[in-house]
């Protein structure tokens, strides 16, 4: 490490690195380990994996490329980065697929051993990119990762396959060196991870060290970079968290703090399956899981559990949400708590199943037969998925209503450093169950399942097994109070209004809307869901440049926060960036009759903050 001072070190505010290679090249692991090193260096950061759609595409093909992007800095980091400073490309396919993401003048660190004729053919390069000028304007660093790894591992007499699988460690070591990251934590990590396989530990750390050393010695790399620790990070213990993982933790928190048993029922679907995977490991928190035969069965099982006094939660993605809608309508009518997580992906139909999108909002709001309002929430960052899951469960059981929680593929798979909350600060749930009759009929105590709480308008939740509260509910219209089947016209009108009013009252739960920037100005950006980072980055940037723009980010979509009308009064223009063809914008226009301007990107990919900046500039300067 003493050598480290030998090369000049340039200080940077922020950097974006993209690790890309074949699915078998271990890029996700490389990225994750680099992330940890960066977190330990106390940078703020955001990451985004980019998996291929195929399970295992044939090696070397463009559609088998797996990538991991990390954006880190000494200042606040909101997104995984717009343009890449350094692309690490383990093969031609990785280079081909990702080159357009690298900023002009950026660096390409390529495994020069992987650019033979066959490799180029597999990637469908008709010419060698190093030779045809297509890489002009980039700084190309060719490193024979494979050869160097083989060399490093010669003493061990390993097979080719094992050695090939280790070359990502070389790349990692070199990158750690380039960005002045300590190597020890990663060595420790490897040692922990493979505690039972000492040889694996040894070969990995050996190659890692070689990569680092190579940086010191090679002529090809002249500069090192340093990104100073961020001073803006709140104090506390941090971990890295993905959105799907956060949802599972949120449910554990409910089971722990909510005094409520939870049943999670789901049918696997990308990108929601990981929630099921995570939750199925939480049995010791009292959470049961059911892998159902389809989405309808999953939501049915969840509702059945809720009827039984155990909070039913189900998770899915867009096509699955469509299938659940009829049953969600039943939960609306029977006024049972239910939480439905929709991890949105590219649509319509099967669409782009591994890509992100925000195009299920209107489905969530309106996609049921009859007047069937539900509460709709949206998480805005991976870590926020934890809080919004908790909130969804709290609202569902307090208001006896289905809640749809929208996240997306970007939140699900993206990660951010997460300040671990103090569990004591989570509001415990009020015990939701009634145990006593609530009505007298002919001088006898009886139970009327549709007598409402005056504050929340929730009906009482009576757990089967409780004597004296036997009652029957169902999907036919209910008589107010007594809850019997009723075809009475006025009762129907009343009940439709009542259910709507109940959902509207959830406004009581919504905190004051935070405004990023001043409460008045030229333009207000209104966002929701996973676009938060990009919007905040753009608005912060432009504010630094003196523009009178502000932003709000909605996590409560139905009902909307009560303070929005007032906030809107402070601005002249409104921009609504969404990863869809304009959905929230419709809801807002309808509700506030103001000229909200949509800004859409429907490419299966998150916004770049620069895109939003561009749009804002267009609007404020025109």
């Amino acid at each position: 490490m003493e050598l480290a001072i030998q090369k000049p070190v340039t200080s940077l505010d922020e950097v974006t690195i993209l690790f890309a290679g074949d699915s078998g090249d271990g890029m996700q692991l490389t990225g994750t380990q680099f992330t940890l090193a960066t977190a330990l260096a106390l940078n703020d950061l955001a990451t985004l994996p980019d998996f291929p759609a195929e399970i295992r595409a044939p090696q070397g093909t463009t559609y088998g490329v797996s990538a991991f992007q990390i954006h880190f800095g000494s200042k606040d980091i909101h997104t995984p980065g717009d343009d890449v400073n350094l692309l690490v490309a383990m093969n031609p396919a990785a280079l081909k697929v990702n080159l357009h993401r690298v900023r002009k003048g950026g660096t390409l660190l390529v495994n020069s051993d992987a650019f033979g004729k066959r490799d180029l053919d597999l990637a469908k390069y008709t010419e060698n990119p190093f030779e045809n000028g297509s890489l002009d304007g980039f700084q190309v660093i060719k490193v024979p990762f494979t050869t160097l790894t083989y060399e490093a591992l010669k003493p061990y007499g390993l097979d080719k396959k094992t050695m090939d699988r280790t070359k990502n460690m070389f790349a990692l070591g070199l990158c750690l060196w380039m960005y002045s990251r300590p190597i020890e934590p990663i060595q420790k990590l490897i040692a922990q991870k493979f505690a039972k396989k000492p040889q694996i530990v040894e070969i990995n750390t050996t190659v890692l060290q070689k990569g680092w050393n190579y940086g010191e010695t090679t002529e090809a790399i002249a500069v090192r970079y340093l990104v100073k620790p961020s001073s803006q990070l709140p104090k506390g213990t941090y971990r890295s968290i993905h959105g799907n993982e956060a949802i599972a933790l949120g449910l554990a928190a409910v089971a722990d703090r909510g005094d409520l048993d939870v049943l999670y029922a789901s049918y696997p679907i990308t990108p929601a399956s990981d929630i099921l995977h995570q939750v199925s490991g939480l049995k010791h928190f009292g959470i049961k899981t059911v892998q159902a035969e389809d989405e309808i069965a999953a939501v049915g099982a969840a509702i059945g559990a809720s009827f039984g006094g155990v909070l039913g939660v189900t998770g899915t993605s867009g096509p699955g949400l469509a299938l659940k809608m009829e049953a969600i309508g039943l939960a609306v009518m029977t006024e049972l708590p239910l939480v439905v997580v929709d991890v949105q992906r590219g649509g319509p139909s099967t669409g782009l199943p591994t890509k992100t999108e925000q195009a299920d909002l209107l489905q969530a709001m309106y996609g049921r037969n009859g007047e069937a309002p539900v509460c709709v929430l949206a998480a805005s960052t991976p870590g926020d998925c934890f809080y919004m899951t908790y909130e969804a469960c709290r609202i569902a059981s307090k208001y006896m209503t289905p809640v749809i929680l929208l996240t997306d593929g970007y939140l699900a798979n993206g990660a951010e450093p997460w300040l671990i909350p103090d569990v004591e600060t989570l509001r415990p749930f009020a015990s939701p169950f009634v145990t006593e009759p609530n009505a007298m009929v002919n001088n006898k105590a009886t139970f009327h399942p549709y007598v409402r709480d005056s504050e929340t308008l929730a009906r009482p939740w009576a757990k089967p097994g409780t004597p004296g509260l036997e009652h029957r509910i169902g999907g036919i219209e209910k008589a107010d109070g007594v809850g019997n089947v009723s075809y009475d016209p006025d009762n129907h009108h009343f009940m439709v209004k009542r259910r709507a009013e109940k959902v509207q009252r959830i406004q009581q739960e919504i905190p004051t809307t935070d405004i990023l920037g001043d409460p008045s100005g030229e333009l207000l950006v209104v966002g929701w869901g996973g676009t938060r980072g990009a919007i905040e980055a753009a608005v912060s940037n432009l504010r630094e440049k003196g523009l009178r723009v502000s932003a709000i980010h909605l996590r409560h979509l139905n009902p909307l926060p009560p303070d929005l009308s007032d906030i809107f009064k402070g601005f002249r223009q409104y921009l609504v960036p969404e990863l869809n063809n304009g959905q929230l914008v419709r809801v807002l226009r309808d509700q506030y009759l103001l000229n909200f301007i949509p800004y859409d990107k429907i490419q299966g990919q998150p916004f770049k903050s620069s895109e939003i900046e561009g749009k804002i500039l267009e609007m404020v300067s025109s």
Partner: protein, 359 residues
Amino acid sequence: MQENGKMPTLSEKPPVGRIFGGDGENGEAKLTASSFKTDQDIRWCPGCGDYSILAQTQRIMPDLGIPREKTVFLSGIGCSSRFPYYMNTYGFHSIHGRAPAFATGLKTARPELDVWLITGDGDALSIGGNHLIHLLRRNLNIQVLLFNNQIYGLTKGQYSPTSEQGKVTKSTPYGSLDHPFNPSAVALGADGTFVARSLDRDPKHMQAMLKRAHAHAGTSLVEVYQNCNIFNDGAFFEFTESASKPFRSLFVEHGKPLLFENGKKGIRLEGLKPVVVSLEEDGFSVDDCIVYDETSRELATIITRMFDATMPRPFGVFYVENRPTYDQQVAEQMEEVLQKRGKGSLASLLNSGDTWEVQ
């Protein structure tokens, strides 16, 4: 606001000091059939076979010894599925075809509840077919009463997946073309662990079947032939009416030979084929007849396939298999994990994995 302008009357005393949800004085458990009646007017057509099934169910409930509050009746949609409104227990009238899904969630969440699922031939075998077969393979410990009237009653008379081919209905003016399901065969194919059939017009038999179904640990499917006197009147009269019943109905009982026509005829296996033999004319005796073994899936498969006019239609418990129930296994697995890992600590879960401090 209530439709008939009246409030429901209370058929029970307040739940103070009660053991059971009975209607006896001073909280003692004197449940009777009428303890299970509700104040709701029954809205089936006069003469509908559903009345009998309801009556038999209410009749056996007191004998089962389960408190009302621990009993749940759950149904889909159809005439039959209105059943829960008439049972003074917890009840859930859900949506069409999905009752097995709701039941799976309910029973998995609350295995201590006694869950009955009420469904029709359309509800269970048309829209709900998938949930039903998955329920059967998972073997949740619940009772399923399938009211088979071979018609869609509530939607006013279209043919159902159990209707005979060629049936002329509103939707098939030239006769239906779909080959019908044999519900018992479907259940056996789906690895059901308890498969039985009964008749609306044989109260004793139905009561016996309901009790056996309840006694079985696992999903008990009881198909009940139910007359829809409006849209499919008499569909089962050959099996239920005294003039033809002895000739057309075969009551199977474990350990007993398969006899009908008041013992004059029996069923014999020729190779793997069941054949009718006359004990009076063909020179066969009772000893030649199949002695029914309800634990034999092979035999159950053969007997439930007796479905055409040449053979008597079998009734009774066709098959019983002991297999761990899903709900019980879930409970056990939960317990095991709890034993192994200890009650989860939220704080340590949140702090798991790689963490770092910002000071």
